[in-house]
C-alpha cells in the first residue's frame, strides 16, 4: 500500500501541473477543448489524492509500522476511532490531507459550474491547480507520508518495522479533536476557491456583479468551517488541557483567527459592492488577504516557526511556504494593479449616517483586529530579527489590546443593522436606537446593582444587551410589517420573513450567536479557583460547594492506566452530583494527561482536575475551578453555525436572481457559439 500511496501522490502532482497549464491555456486561447481537458485533470487530481489518502488510512488502520509516518503517529493500542485522525496527526499526513481537501473543493467548483461561469472556469482551475501543485510537490518532496523504515545491516539496507508505534499525543485522543482539525483545514483550504474566482474575474475582466455573488457563497462555506473549527478547538482545550480556559492566544490559535476575521470583513463589505457598486478594490484586497492569511495560518500551524502549545509539527518547510506566500502576494497584487481601471466605484456615499458607513467602520475594526493579532503573533520573530532577543507575547498582551477592539466591534454589530442604506435621518436614528439603548441601560443598571463593577465586563454585557435588543427589534418590526399586509400569525411572519431574505436574517442569527459568545467571555471575570490535597474523607470548599473525597481508585483501559478520585459534591448542604476526575497515563506515548470532570449548567461549570498525587502524603491534588457562563460560548458557537447555514440557503429573491443570470448566460453562450 506504501507504493500505491506514493504512486497516487506523484500522479496527483502530475495532474495538478497539467491542470494548471491546461487551465491557463484554455483561459488564454478561450478553448473549450482545453477547458474540458483541464476539468478532467481536476478529476484526475481528486482521484489520485483520494488514492493516496485511502492508502495512508489503510496503513494506519492495519498498523503497518513499515511506514515511517504510521510508526511515528499510531500504535497498536490506539483505539480505532483515533486511527482515522492519524492522517492529520503529523506534518506529512496533514499536508496530504490539505491537498486532498483542495481536490474536493476544486472538484466541487468544476461540478457546480458545469453550465455557468464558463468564462471564469479556465483560470479558476489554473489557479487552484497551481495551489495544488505547490502542496503536492511539498508533500511529495519534503513531507512524504509514504517513506518506509529501513535498517542498515552488513548485508545492505533491509525494510524494518518496529513491534509498536510511538502512538498519538494523548491530548489529541479526544472526540472533538477528531473533527476540529478537519474543520479548520476545510476553512483554510476552502479560501482558495474564492481567491481563484476573484483572480479569474480580474484576469478575464469579468467584474460585473456575478462573480461577487458567487464568491460570497464560496467564502461563507470555509468561513463557517473555520469558525466551527475555532470553537471546537476551544472546546478541546477546555476539556483536555486542564487549565479551565478555552483560548490562550497561542500562535496557532491566532493563525486560525486571522483568516476568519479577514473573511468576516469581506462578508460585510461585499454587501456594499452588491448594493451600491462600491469598495470593489477593497473587496479584492480582502479576498487576497483572506487567502494569504489562510496559507500563512497553515504555515504557522505546520512549520513550528513560532513556539506554540501545538508543538506537534516542527519542520523545515518554512522556506517553501515563504516562497509560496511571496508568489501569492506578487501574483495577486500585480493582477489587481493591472485591472484597477475596471474596479471604479459606481456610486457616491449619500450620508455619513448610513449602512455603507457602518460597514466601512466594521471593516476598519476587523482589519485593526487582524493587524493586532498578526503583529502580536509574529512579534517574537520580529524581535529576534531586530534586537536579537526572543520575547513572549501571550494572553496579557492580547487581552489588553483585543478587548477594546472586541467591544467596539460588538457595538457596531448592534448599530450597523439599525442604519438604513444610503442615508439615515436623525429621527430614524433616534427611533431605531432608543429601545435597544433603553434595554441595555436597564440591563446595565441591574448589573451594577448585582455587583458587576469591572469596566470591561460591564461594558461587554451592556453591549450584548444592546445588540440582542436590536436583533430582536429587527425581527419584530419585519414580522409586524408582514402581519399587517398578509394576515399571518407572528411566528409564520417571522418564518416567511426569514426565508424571504435568508442572508439578512441568517446574518442576524450569526450576530446573536456572537452576542452569546461574548456573554460567555464576560463570565471569565468571575472565575473562582481553589486547590487542595484530598484523601478519602477529606473535604474541600469552593464558594457554595463542598467536595468530599469518597475514594481514590486505579484502573486500566486498552491504551492507558488511570487514577481517579470519586468526589461527592454538595451545594448549601444539598447533594448535587458525583464527579470523577482522572489522571491518565498513556503507555505507548509515555505521557500523562488529566481527564477533567465537569458539571455544567447554563449559569456555571464546576471544573475539577486531578493534577496528580502528592508524593509525600499520597493524597490526590485536586484543582477546582468555578467557571461562570462558559456554556454560552458553545451555545453561541452552535448558533453562529446555524445562522451561517441559514444564510447559505438560497432565498426566494436569490433563486429568482439566479434564474435570471442563468438565462442571461445561456443567451450569451448561444450568441458566442453562433
Amino acid at each position: 500500500m506504501n507504493q500505491v500511496g506514493a504512486v497516487g501522490l506523484i500522479a496527483a502532482l502530475a495532474f495538478a501541473i497539467y491542470g494548471m497549464i491546461s487551465g491557463a491555456i484554455a483561459g488564454r486561447l478561450r478553448s473549450p477543448r482545453m477547458l474540458k481537458s483541464a476539468q478532467r485533470a481536476v478529476l484526475g487530481f481528486f482521484a489520485m489524492t483520494t488514492l493516496a489518502v485511502v492508502s495512508l488510512e489503510y496503513l494506519a488502520l492495519t498498523n503497518n509500522f513499515h511506514n515511517s509516518y504510521v510508526a511515528s503517529h499510531s500504535s497498536l493500542a490506539l483505539p480505532l476511532v483515533y486511527k482515522i485522525p492519524v492522517l492529520w496527526a503529523g506534518q506529512e499526513g496533514s499536508l496530504l490531507f490539505w491537498t486532498w481537501l483542495l481536490s474536493i473543493y476544486v472538484g466541487l467548483a468544476v461540478l457546480l459550474n458545469r453550465k455557468k461561469n464558463r468564462q471564469l472556469m479556465p483560470y479558476i482551475i489554473a489557479i487552484c491547480m497551481g495551489v495544488g501543485t505547490f502542496f503536492s510537490l511539498l508533500t511529495f518532496s519534503e513531507a512524504n507520508p509514504f517513506n518506509q523504515l529501513s535498517l542498515a545491516t552488513a548485508t545492505g539496507v533491509t525494510p524494518y518495522a518496529p513491534p509498536d508505534g510511538n502512538g498519538m499525543p494523548p491530548s489529541l485522543q479526544y472526540h472533538s479533536m477528531v473533527i476540529h482539525p478537519p474543520m479548520l483545514y476545510l476553512g483554510y483550504v476552502g479560501m482558495a476557491i474564492p481567491f481563484a474566482f476573484a483572480m479569474s474575474a480580474l484576469l478575464k475582466r469579468q467584474l460585473g456583479d456575478n462573480w461577487i455573488r458567487v464568491t460570497r457563497r464560496w467564502v461563507m462555506v470555509p468561513w463557517m468551517f473555520l469558525g466551527t473549527g475555532i470553537v471546537l478547538g476551544g472546546h478541546w482545550a477546555y476539556h483536555v488541557l486542564g487549565w479551565g480556559g478555552y483560548w490562550a492566544w497561542d500562535p496557532v490559535e491566532n493563525a486560525s483567527l486571522l483568516p476568519w476575521l479577514a473573511g468576516t470583513a469581506f462578508l460585510h463589505s461585499v454587501m456594499i459592492q452588491e448594493k451600491r457598486g462600491m469598495l470593489k478594490v477593497w473587496n479584492m484586497v480582502l479576498i487576497i488577504l483572506t487567502f494569504f492569511l489562510s496559507i500563512f495560518g497553515t504555515f504557522l500551524t505546520r512549520s513550528g516557526i513560532i513556539s506554540s502549545v501545538h508543538a506537534f509539527a516542527q519542520s523545515n518547510i518554512g522556506p517553501w511556504f515563504s516562497v509560496f506566500l511571496a508568489i501569492i502576494a506578487a501574483f495577486s497584487l500585480t493582477v489587481l494593479f493591472l485591472r484597477l481601471d475596471f474596479l471604479k466605484t459606481e456610486n457616491r456615499l449619500d450620508a455619513v449616517a448610513s449602512r455603507e458607513s457602518g460597514f466601512l467602520f466594521n471593516n476598519w475594526i476587523l482589519l485593526a483586529a487582524v493587524l493586532a493579532v498578526l503583529w502580536g503573533t509574529i512579534f517574537p520573530i520580529v524581535s529576534k530579527a531586530i534586537q536579537g532577543v526572543t520575547v513572549t507575547v501571550g494572553p496579557p498582551f492580547f487581552n489588553r489590546v483585543m478587548v477594546p477592539i472586541g467591544l467596539l466591534l460588538l457595538f457596531l454589530t448592534g448599530a450597523g443593522p439599525l442604519l438604513a442604506w444610503r442615508k439615515t435621518s436623525f429621527q430614524s436614528i433616534k427611533r431605531n436606537f432608543t429601545l435597544p439603548l433603553i434595554f441595555a441601560a436597564v440591563v446595565g443598571g441591574i448589573l451594577l446593582f448585582v455587583g458587576v463593577h469591572r469596566l470591561y465586563t460591564w461594558m461587554s454585557l451592556f453591549l450584548c444587551a444592546f445588540v440582542a435588543a436590536s436583533i430582536v427589534g429587527e425581527f419584530y418590526k419585519g414580522a409586524r410589517t408582514r402581519m399587517k399586509f398578509s394576515r399571518e400569525s407572528f411566528f409564520a411572519a417571522v418564518y416567511n420573513l426569514t426565508m424571504r431574505n435568508t442572508r439578512r436574517y441568517g446574518g442576524y442569527v450569526v450576530h446573536f450567536g456572537i452576542v452569546l459568545i461574548f456573554v460567555g467571555f464576560a463570565g471569565q471575570a468571575f472565575r473562582f479557583e481553589t486547590q487542595g490535597l484530598m484523601g478519602p474523607g477529606d473535604l474541600l470548599k469552593a464558594k457554595d460547594y463542598l467536595f468530599r473525597c469518597e475514594s481514590i481508585d486505579t484502573g486500566q483501559k486498552a491504551n492507558y492506566q488511570f487514577e481517579t478520585v470519586a468526589l461527592s459534591v454538595t451545594k448549601d448542604g444539598h447533594a448535587l452530583t458525583e464527579m470523577h476526575p482522572q489522571k491518565r497515563f498513556f503507555m505507548a506515548e509515555q505521557e500523562a494527561l488529566s481527564h477533567v470532570a465537569l458539571h455544567s449548567t447554563l449559569a456555571q461549570d464546576l471544573y475539577v482536575v486531578m493534577a496528580g498525587r502528592d508524593p509525600g502524603s499520597g493524597k490526590a491534588i485536586i484543582h477546582v475551578i468555578i467557571n461562570p457562563l462558559v456554556q454560552w460560548v458553545w451555545i453561541g458557537g452552535i448558533i453562529v453555525l446555524l445562522g451561517t447555514l441559514l444564510a447559505l440557503v438560497p432565498s426566494r429573491m436569490e433563486r429568482q436572481m439566479a434564474d435570471l443570470h442563468k438565462n442571461r448566460e445561456a443567451l450569451a453562450e448561444a450568441r458566442h457559439v453562433s
Binding site: 497561542d250 503583529w375 501571550g394 498582551f397
Partner: protein
C-alpha cells in the same frame, strides 16, 4: 481640615490599604504573577498558571521563587524582575514596554488610528454634495417624516 491635608490622608490610606491587601493576599498575588509569566520548561509554552505538566520541575522552581519573594515582602514588579534576572525577558507573558518592545504595544493603536483616519477620509471623499447644496440648487425639500418612512421601507425590502 484643609483640602491638601485631606488629600494626603486619602493617598496614604490607599497606599496602606494596598500594602495591607497585598500582605493579606499572597495567594492572589501569586496567581496574578503566574498569569503574567510563562513556564520556562520549554515543553508546555503556556503561562505558569496554565502549565498542564504534572511534575514540571521548572514550574515548581518558578513557584518557589515567587513564594520566597512574597515571604520577603517583595512587590509584584520586584518579583517579576527577579524572574527576568533568572530566566531573561522571555519569561514575561507580554513584552515589557520599553525600547523596541514599545512597538508591540503601539502598533495596534497606531494601526487603529490610521484605519480610522482612512475610513473618515474615504467617507468624506465619497460623500455626495450635501442635501443643503442640492436644495439650494433648486431641488424641492423633502419632508423628514417622508424620508424616515422611505428609509424604513428600504430597510425592509432592499436589504
Amino acid at each position: 481640615m484643609s483640602a491638601s491635608r485631606l488629600l494626603k490622608i486619602i493617598v496614604l490610606s490607599l497606599a496602606l490599604a494596598n500594602v495591607v491587601m497585598a500582605a493579606q493576599n499572597p495567594a492572589e498575588l501569586e496567581k496574578d504573577i503566574g498569569n503574567n509569566v510563562y513556564c520556562m520548561c520549554g515543553g508546555c509554552v503556556t503561562s505558569l498558571n496554565t502549565c498542564p505538566m504534572q511534575f514540571c520541575e521548572v514550574k515548581e522552581g518558578m513557584h518557589s521563587i515567587i513564594r520566597a519573594d512574597l515571604e520577603q515582602g517583595k512587590t509584584e514588579p520586584q518579583i517579576l524582575q527577579d524572574l527576568v534576572n533568572r530566566y531573561g525577558e522571555k519569561v514575561l507573558a507580554a513584552p515589557p514596554p520599553h525600547g523596541f518592545n514599545l512597538t508591540a504595544w503601539l502598533l495596534p493603536g497606531v494601526g487603529l488610528l490610521i484605519g480610522l483616519f482612512l475610513a473618515i477620509t474615504v467617507v468624506r471623499r465619497w460623500r455626495r454634495p450635501t442635501a443643503e447644496a442640492v436644495t439650494s440648487a433648486g431641488a424641492p425639500p423633502v419632508d423628514e417624516s417622508v424620508l424616515s418612512a422611505v428609509e424604513e421601507e428600504m430597510k425592509k425590502y432592499v436589504d
